[in-house]
């Protein structure tokens, strides 16, 4: 299992899945604390019309235009949610529900109306991604990791998601204190003169960036699951924010690796012949982790219900 075939067929998807999971879990921690966990859900729904429009404009399924389209759609969605919430004085959950279902419906309609028979673009692909197809044919073994020529043939999703993760991580590191302050106590952050609203918009934009890049590689199930499940499970493990982040990264990695391995090799171990959906399995594993944390996590109970 650990030979040349593994490096060529399994290593790139596992790496991409892990990096995508971490890139989503990082901002997910703060979205969770701000009770905005469902932003990830909303963003990954509205990405569909974005990529369909990008396809209609450019006529190809090239990655950058699609990511741009997806990013623009995410931005439009956030603006629409905010506008509807304010103009209509509607609670955020309902405003979100109005916007993301509408935009997703528009995406599906656009997709059905346009001729995409020649390209790999459909709703299923958008939902589950195609992690399994991100293979590295040039690899001949572990040595290929030092072979520049072979490295150049890595699936382009890998450097893209790695770069995205780097950006997300660096921005979050640099803005750590203001982010924590404004998440914990917005009023206090304001009295310090922190640009509270800009920080909020920045966080959502960062989440959108992670979602769009991860979506391109792994589909929206993983995006939604990784925004929420690893941070949620981590929250039940500790009362320290820094520790929570590390737990969430560990859980995200575990979900991605274990999920991929179970989907790819599990059926073989059981005597089957076909691999299962890796995206679905990664989400499922993250759910099992959350279930275990909810049952046994040391800080699972609400603070008021624990002995002092």
């Amino acid at each position: 299992m650990m030979g040349a075939e593994f490096v060529a067929l399994s290593l790139p998807p596992i790496l991409i899945g892990t990096l995508a999971a971490i890139a989503c879990a990082l901002p997910g921690n703060f979205l969770l604390l701000r009770r905005q966990a469902l932003i990830g859900d909303a963003i990954s729904h509205v990405v569909l019309p974005g990529i369909v429009l990008a396809f209609l404009v450019t006529g190809t399924v090239a990655a950058w235009p699609m990511m741009l389209g997806a990013g623009a759609a995410a931005l439009v969605a956030v603006l629409m949610i905010e506008t509807i919430r304010r103009l209509g004085r509607i609670e955020p959950g309902a405003a979100m529900g109005v916007v993301f279902t509408t935009m997703f419906a528009a995406g599906v309609l656009l997709l059905e109306q346009s001729d995409t028979s020649g390209v790999h673009l459909d709703v299923q692909h958008a939902l589950y991604g195609n992690l399994e197809s991100l293979i590295w044919l040039e690899a001949t073994g572990w040595d290929s990791l030092w072979d520049v020529q072979a490295l150049a043939a890595l699936p382009p999703e890998l450097p893209r998601i790695a770069l995205t993760l780097l950006v997300v991580a660096v921005v979050m590191l640099l803005s750590w204190r203001p982010l924590v302050l404004s998440t914990f106590d917005e009023g206090f952050a304001r009295t310090l003169g922190l640009p509270v609203r800009a920080i909020g918009v920045g966080l959502v934009s960062l989440a959108a960036l992670a979602a769009v890049a991860a979506f391109d590689a792994v589909g929206s199930i993983i995006v939604i699951a990784m925004f929420i499940c690893p941070p949620a499970a981590a929250r039940l493990m500790t009362d320290r924010l820094g520790t929570q982040i590390w737990w969430s990264l560990g859980f995200a990695t575990l979900s991605a690796v274990l999920g991929y391995v179970l989907a790819g090799y599990g059926p073989l171990w059981l005597g089957g012949t076909h691999a299962l959906s890796a995206a679905g399995m990664i989400a499922s594993v993250s759910g099992v982790i959350l279930l275990l944390a909810a049952l046994f996590g040391p800080c699972r109970a609400p603070a008021g219900q624990r002995p002092g």
Binding site: L32, R35, Q36, A37, L38, D41, H45, I84, L87, G88, R89, I90, E91, G93, A94, A95, M96, G97, V98, T101, T102, A105, A106, V108, L109, E112, Q113, V123, Q124, L127, I221, I222, I224, A225, I228, C229, R235, L236, A263, P267, G272, T273, H274, L276, S277, A279, G280, M281, I282, A283, S284, S286, G287, L290, A294, G297, C299, A301, P302, A303
Partner: protein, 304 residues
């Protein structure tokens, strides 16, 4: 063609589907009011996504029992069971852990959906699963719907609508003022459960027409739109049902006129159009009315 469709002239099946969609939309519109009033609109999103593994397991079970895996009543039963489990998970996570409802919703939604996708790939590897077509439950599909299926949907939609209308008074009380409802001797917990149960029923019935990803729109958009027109709960209920019914009817009729016009998205887009109209033009709460009022208020008072 469109007038034919709107006048139900496209054959018996299409007529049944259109009427079913209208009943479903009306029932969803009325039920959704209670969810939106109780600020629980997105719980139904978790519930609808949670149906997928139930559909998959029901298919597998029916095939293993030697039957046709695609029998709609069986699939809907599985969907309902999984939706109920998803709902239980949301409330368990919210009550027993420190996680907020939003996190619980997102977690249940993504994990159940992920598990469902895994099951779909399992089904693809089964010999009977090649043409299972369970993917149609994601976005709904009315093309080639069996007459019996259309009948089931229309009847179930009518039943749910009747139930919601019968229960509207206690549900209004419970959603608007739980404390008062308790003081009046109502069992608020049971009423909440009934409201969620009805939402679940709508989700399950709507799977075939609207699909599990978009069904939540029918529960959210009409109530939010109706809220703009009135502050009285009974008016909001009636209007929301009406808007939902129009969306269902119009969307289904429109989609029957040509191929490549999926029913679910059309229904959702139509309801959004009605929402946008309400947001702009409703008297008092609408944007135009607010702007006009502000202008009038500012003009004389600006002399300071």
């Amino acid at each position: 063609m469109l007038t034919d469709a709107l006048l139900l002239q496209l054959g018996y099946n299409a007529t049944l589907v259109t009427l079913g969609a209208a009943l479903l939309g009306a029932a969803a519109g009325v039920t959704g009011v209670f969810l939106v009033l109780g600020k629980r609109a997105l719980v139904s999103d978790a519930v609808s996504h949670a149906t997928l593994p139930g559909i998959g397991l029901a298919f597998i079970a029916m095939v293993m029992a030697g039957g046709d895996g695609r029998a709609l009543p069986g699939l809907l039963l599985g969907a309902a069971a999984a939706a109920g489990l998803g709902l239980l998970c949301v409330s368990w996570l919210t009550r027993r852990t420190r996680l907020g409802e939003d996190a619980a919703i997102g977690a249940v939604l993504s994990v159940f959906f992920g598990a469902g996708v895994v099951l779909l790939t399992v089904i693809q590897t089964m010999s009977a699963g090649r043409q299972a077509g369970l993917e149609t439950f994601l976005l709904g599909s009315t093309a080639g719907m069996l007459r019996s299926d259309a009948l089931v949907i229309a009847l179930a939609g009518a039943l749910v609508l009747a139930l919601v209308l019968a229960l509207r008074r206690p549900m209004t009380l419970a959603a608007f003022d739980p404390d008062f409802a308790v003081a009046r001797g109502l069992n608020v917990r049971r009423i909440d459960l009934a409201a969620m149960g009805l939402a679940m029923a709508i989700t399950v019935i709507g799977l075939k027409i609207v699909g599990l990803i978009l069904i939540v729109a029918l529960l959210i958009i009409p109530p939010v739109a109706a809220r703009f027109w009135s502050d009285r709960v009974d008016h909001v209920l009636a209007l929301s049902g009406l808007l939902g019914g129009i969306s269902g009817y119009g969307g289904a009729a429109l989609s029957a006129t040509a191929p490549g016009l999926p029913t679910g998205p059309l229904i959702v887009l139509l309801s959004f159009a009605l929402f946008a109209l309400s947001l702009l033009a409703a008297p008092r709460r609408g944007v135009l009315a607010t702007l006009l009022r502000r202008r009038r208020a500012v003009a004389p008072g600006a002399g300071r």
